[in-house]
């Protein structure tokens, strides 16, 4: 690419909680020539619109709202003099560490980075991806879009609301819409369990008497210019609507909270290997992708429940990127980490055998398991166990693995079994 590229040590794509934590960590290890590129006009990412409380208990031992949590990272980054370039859209990332970006302020730019950290976050699954029949009326939004309207722009998207999907943003919006004066008629979930955190079911639905219809889905959308109602039906074990079980709701708004997908267009372009289970890059325990010197952390890697864990993971990624520059590579033998029974999308997928350390294995249960244990094995050897009253897909499980327990290069398997 262009010989006039701007040379930087570390380039970070995204100034949400992941990008900010990675930048601060890298800077604190002594990397000065560092730049963060952010598409929006402000740093902070999705936290800016998450005005509810509940962030930061693990990291700060206090309960913050999203904007307050983000501000702490922004303040830290500013105090360290970190160069955050907002209003800058990254157009491409290439395997040779060339990054092309465009902004109104500086036009088209080419960067050449020693290391790159991907921290682009995730996006909501839209209506088109779930195939609901019926009218294409106005009044159908993803929960996060509604959240942006209400919390950042001060507009209410509707008065009588049905929510499809029980992801955390949908639950949070059920409460927000209720508090701001709307009537939330129902939260409808296709699966027999919610994909949201239990606390949000309690705090956002139960507190306000909003019914949660499990094993139900929206089978029809009615309306002309504007949505006028939806039909909801119970589904059987194959998730097919059961005739005769239909319930009709008169509503003007349907919010969708039907899943989050890591936003990896740039990673695909750069040729990073993507896991079909997490939809994020395949990484080793220092969060380095299949392309040397390109790292990934936060929701672009795998969708988290807690921003505290995003910050923790991204701090590690930031340190690792700095270390990569010093060592010039993370070559060495690795042990593969595989998903066993009841486990989906364990991160990291590889562990470097370069030194003794503690590695956090993070994954989602593939279903609901009561009175069970998560178990990490290598061959016939059990390396670590973690018991829990319940494992659900809505809550990520983290198991610390002491690498001194590893013997040889046989793969490690993570599974869930009944106790």
């Amino acid at each position: 690419m262009a010989a006039y590229g701007i040379d930087v040590d570390i380039l970070i794509v995204g100034a949400g909680p992941a990008g900010l934590a990675a930048a601060v960590a890298a800077k604190e290890t002594g990397i000065d020539n560092l730049v963060v590129l952010e598409r929006e006009d402000h740093p902070g990412g999705i936290l800016r619109q998450c005005i509810h409380n509940g962030f930061g208990l693990h990291r700060y031992n206090e309960e913050l709202t999203g904007p307050e949590y983000a501000q702490r990272d922004i303040d830290k980054a500013e105090a360290l003099g970190i160069d955050i370039r907002c209003g800058t859209t990254v157009l491409s990332v290439e395997a040779d560490h060339t990054v092309t970006a465009v902004s109104t302020a500086r036009g088209l730019e080419t960067y050449k980075a020693k290391a790159i950290i991907m921290a682009m976050g995730c996006r909501e699954r839209p209506r088109g991806a779930i195939g609901i029949p019926g009218a294409r009326s106005a009044g159908i939004y993803t929960a996060g879009t509604a959240q942006k309207f209400v919390n950042l722009e001060g507009f209410m998207p509707g008065k009588r609301i049905v929510i499809l999907g029980s992801g955390d943003i949908g639950l949070i919006m059920a409460r927000r819409m209720t508090l701001q004066g709307a009537k939330v008629l129902a939260c409808v979930e296709l699966m027999p369990y919610s994909s949201g955190l239990k606390r949000n079911i309690v705090q956002c639905l139960d507190d306000y008497g909003i019914p949660l219809y499990l094993s139900h889905t929206v089978t029809n959308i009615e309306g002309g210019d504007r949505l006028t109602g939806v039909t909801v039906a119970k589904v059987d074990e194959h998730r097919m609507p059961i005739p005769g079980s239909e319930i009709h709701f008169d509503c003007d708004t349907l919010l969708l909270s039907v899943g989050l997908i890591p936003e990896n267009e740039l990673s695909n372009q750069a040729g990073l290997e993507i896991s079909p289970f997490t939809s994020g890059p395949v990484v080793n325990d220092v969060f380095e992708s299949s392309v040397p010197g390109i790292f990934a952390c936060g929701n672009v890697l795998h969708v988290h429940d807690l921003v505290d864990y995003v910050s923790q993971e991204s701090t590690e990624a930031g340190k690792a990127a700095a270390e990569y520059i010093r060592r010039e590579s993370f070559n060495g033998k690795t042990v593969a980490v595989q998903d066993g029974n009841g486990v989906r999308g364990t991160v990291p997928q590889k562990i470097l055998l370069d030194e003794d350390k503690k590695v956090n294995l993070m994954f989602r249960p593939s279903g609901v398991f009561e009175k069970a244990q998560a178990i990490v094995t290598q061959g016939d050897t059990v390396l670590v166990k973690k018991r829990a009253q319940i494992f659900t897909p809505g809550e990520m499980v983290v198991i610390p693995l002491d690498t001194t327990k590893l013997a040889g290069e046989d793969p490690v398997k993570v599974s869930i079994e009944k106790v």
């Binding site: 509940g54 904007p67 307050e68 209400v150 508090l179 701001q180 606390r199 507190d207 009253q389």
Partner: protein, 118 residues
């Protein structure tokens, strides 16, 4: 003896806590993983409280300001609290941490801004 099941809302881990009650007396609290969980469970069975967050319009700012109660308030005052906050007329600039409504509904709790606008 009566058992009450509570999901802790102190942090997003959501520990499932079982409180064993004898009338209005707490006999046993189990399932919490930190001290805050025990405190919460005790509170939740005796007199539940919540932190309330909201957005309020600000004159002179194209964007609303987000606010929170600086401490939890009684759960049965949530809607009264929203209505009271709605009566305020705010002007830019507002800074994060500014008191928006002092001592809301006589609870001793201030409503404060969680972002800066204007």
């Amino acid at each position: 003896m009566e058992e009450k099941q509570i999901v802790c809302i102190n942090c997003p881990l959501g520990c499932r806590i079982t409180v064993t009650m004898d009338g209005n007396e707490i006999k046993k609290i189990e399932g919490n993983t930190c001290k805050r969980g025990e405190v919460y469970a005790r509170q939740e069975v005796l007199s539940p409280v919540r932190v309330i967050t909201a957005v309020l319009p600000v004159e002179g700012s194209p964007v609303p300001v987000s606010v929170k109660t600086a401490a939890p308030i009684p759960k049965n005052k949530i809607f009264e609290c929203m209505a009271e906050m709605g009566k305020t007329s705010l002007k830019a600039p507002i800074h994060m941490g500014d008191v928006i409504v002092p001592n809301i509904l006589g609870t001793g709790v201030n409503v404060v801004a969680t972002k800066s606008v204007g």
